[in-house]
């Protein structure tokens, strides 16, 4: 099977979906030229200016226009240049995209995909590093996807574009080139709403997603050598959550760690912990632990501060050891 980086997998998914369905089109800032991360590189040449379209520098209009275009037969894939800059579009996302189907009892819908790079570790400072998934994870009507492997990036992006509902597709920007893996050349999708058990062990269960899921796998392999066997669940979809898998895998080991880069309070981990504390309580052998970013407004810039903020394999391995020893 061909080996692809995360960025290549995304580009492949876009190209294949655009080739397969002429309703698919891309809009966003600098997308014609390939985008600041080059995710749309080559698409203008292949599909023309009608299907790869630069927009004015105004995120609310990118989302609002995508909603309108989706009402009239197109399948927009909007790019928000950095996830931090999705905030001016929150009203269009939460008041409009998330509620259009519900408010019309299904008479109107807006099938659209919003792609956006998120996350830290690339010296982006406060405004080019943020995780924003938790802000939307409270909003019924939106779907949220945060893949971690190149395979899932491709399969989930294709699923997002074909999904009848609005999907926020968040791409951890540090993984664009960092992570490589086998990705079929052929068409396939990965279902939205399904978590994936990446490895199984009896001692504890770790839930994670995105870059943190990658580090968690590394930590689990390391601990395996020390005799600690962990189940690692990659959530992949943040909304709607795969509660069945979460509860089953929590019950299986009774020791739970949730790991995410986003800051702790009110993060996605809170909902996972709450779900388990309610539905798997009788199986628990230890406090439910969360390892997450510190509760500061965002990742600071200086290398020492960024290192302080960011997760890594060591920090996760430490937390796993502590939990296993409980």
């Amino acid at each position: 099977m061909p080996v692809r980086s995360v960025l290549e997998a995304i580009r492949d998914a876009l190209r294949e979906e655009m080739a397969d369905d002429e309703r698919v089109f891309i809009l966003g800032e600098d997308v014609e030229e390939g985008g600041v991360f080059r995710a749309t590189d080559g698409l203008l040449e292949k599909f023309g200016a009608e299907r790869v379209m630069d927009t004015p520098l105004a995120e609310s209009s990118i989302i609002g226009v995508a909603i309108g275009a989706s009402l009239n037969g197109l399948l927009p894939v909007a790019e928000i240049q950095f996830a931090d800059f999705i905030l001016p579009a929150v009203n269009q996302l939460i008041s409009e995209a998330a509620k259009l189907r519900y408010r019309s009892a299904g008479d109107f819908t807006c099938p659209m995909t919003v792609r956006s790079p998120y996350g830290g570790g690339i010296r982006g400072g406060l405004y080019h590093s943020q995780c924003v998934e938790a802000l939307f994870a409270h909003v019924p009507g939106l779907k949220i996807v945060c893949p971690s492997t190149p395979y899932d990036y491709k399969g989930l992006l294709k699923a997002a574009i074909r999904d009848p509902d609005p999907v926020l597709f968040f791409e951890h920007k540090k993984t664009y080139h960092l992570l490589r893996g086998e990705v079929p050349d052929r068409d396939f999708t990965v279902p939205i709403g399904k978590a994936e058990v990446r490895r199984r062990g009896d001692d504890l269960t770790v839930f994670s997603y995105g870059l943190a899921a990658h580090y968690t796998m590394e930590a689990a392999e390391r601990l395996s050598g020390e005799g600690i066997q962990a189940t690692v669940v990659d959530l992949r979809t943040i909304q709607p959550l795969d509660r069945a898998t979460i509860i089953d895998e929590a019950k299986a080991t009774g020791k739970i760690l949730i790991v995410h880069e986003d800051n702790l309070t009110g993060g996605v981990g809170a909902e996972i912990a709450a779900t388990i504390a309610q539905a798997a309580f009788e199986y628990l052998d230890a406090p439910i632990m969360r390892l997450a970013g510190p509760d500061v407004p965002a990742v600071p810039y200086a290398q020492a501060l960024e290192d302080w903020y960011m997760l890594n394999t060591d920090k996760i391995a430490d937390a796993m050891r502590r939990l296993a020893a409980y």
């Binding site: 909603i67 309108g68 009402l71 009239n72 409009e96 019309s104 009507g141 509660r243």
Partner: protein, 347 residues
């Protein structure tokens, strides 16, 4: 490109024969739509006062604008993104009194939201009127996106969207105008300028007299029209629609009008404007004005008028009866339509 000033002049210069080019039966239909709109909203006021419905908001006084604009588009082909006062748009588009009353009563059969939204959040899939929300001005971007799709797909569709003058202060309005200008889209922004945003007079919303002045800053036409003169509204919008359909891009049409009622059933407008001011405008009622014109021009007779009005009364009475008895939404359905496929919830 015509500037705001030029096109404003253009649109009011129709003077001599204001109804030129509008067939008589269409003039009569316009008139009927206005009267029906007014009588439906009259009844809504009563129903709210009687405690039979919880809330109500209308565009009484703005009927010439709403009906005039809507008659200028191709119904069923063009798309409409209205705002909460647009009962006149709904009726001119083809919504029935029953449908408006179903919406008012929050009934399951109501075509706008099936009882999920407050009344006046219009939408009607079959009529290409897109469901709206409450935060103002968001719909202008949907109209632009819809127009973009029409252009990309090569469809001869025009999108119109309306909003109040106060709502033009929102960032979304600016972004919609700008996007439409850059991509020369077939979209028309109708500003129903009634002089107030709830209690705030226009001077607290903007430092200019005419919102239409802003269109030039986005590279397209802005017109100012007497929004209580249905024929002027029609002619100006018609022109804008034709321009849009020809690929000549967007327009802004500002209709100067007045709401002769409080903002909504929750509002007491005596707190912020004099009765005298309101009465002045009631004297300029757009329906009376059009009625006089049609009678004077011999297009409408007193007799036809009476018959028409009697028919309207029946229609409205039937609508209230029908809607009040219609089924309420079923809470068992309330979890539906969050997504296309309901996710398995909490165990």
């Amino acid at each position: 490109m015509a500037t705001a000033r030029e096109s404003a002049r253009r649109s009011t210069k129709q003077g001599a024969e204001p109804h030129v080019g509008i067939p008589n039966d269409q003039l009569l239909k316009m008139y009927r739509d206005m009267v029906l709109t007014r009588r439906v909203t009259d009844r809504m006021i009563a129903l709210q006062r009687q405690g039979r419905v919880a809330f109500f908001i209308s565009g009484q006084g703005q009927e010439a604008t709403q009906v005039g604009v809507t008659h200028a588009i191709k119904r069923g082909t063009d798309w409409v993104f209205p705002y909460y006062r647009d009962q006149g748009v709904c009726i001119a588009l083809g919504m029935t009194a029953r449908e408006l009353m179903l919406d008012l009563f929050g009934k399951a059969e109501g075509p706008c939201s099936h009882g999920r939204q407050m009344p006046s959040h219009f939408g009607h899939a079959a009529l290409r009127m897109v469901s709206g929300s409450s935060p103002v001005a968001t719909q202008t971007l949907h109209a632009v996106g819809c127009a973009l799709a029409a252009k990309l797909r090569g469809l001869p569709e025009v999108c119109i969207t309306s909003l109040g003058e106060g709502s033009t202060g929102q960032g979304d309005f600016h972004e919609a105008m700008n996007f439409a200008g850059v991509h020369k889209l077939p979209v028309i922004f109708i500003v129903e300028n009634n002089g107030y945003a709830i209690s705030q007079p226009q001077s607290k919303e903007m430092a200019v007299k005419d919102v239409a002045d802003r269109a030039a800053g986005y590279g397209f036409r802005g017109s100012v029209v007497d929004g209580n003169d249905i024929m002027a509204v029609y002619q100006t919008t018609r022109w804008a629609v034709e321009e849009a359909r020809r690929g000549h891009g967007p327009s802004l049409v500002e209709c100067k009008t007045y709401r002769i009622v409080p903002h909504s059933s929750s509002d007491d407008d005596r707190r912020y404007r004099t009765r005298k001011e309101v009465e002045e405008w009631v004297k300029r009622d757009p329906i009376d004005r059009f009625q006089k014109y049609l009678l004077g021009a011999g297009i409408l007779s007193e007799e036809t008028d009476e018959q028409m009005r009697a028919g309207i009364e029946e229609e409205v009475t039937d609508a209230v009866r029908y809607a009040e008895q219609a089924a309420d939404p079923d809470p068992a359905e309330a979890l539906k339509h969050v997504y296309a496929h309901q996710p398995t919830g909490f165990p």
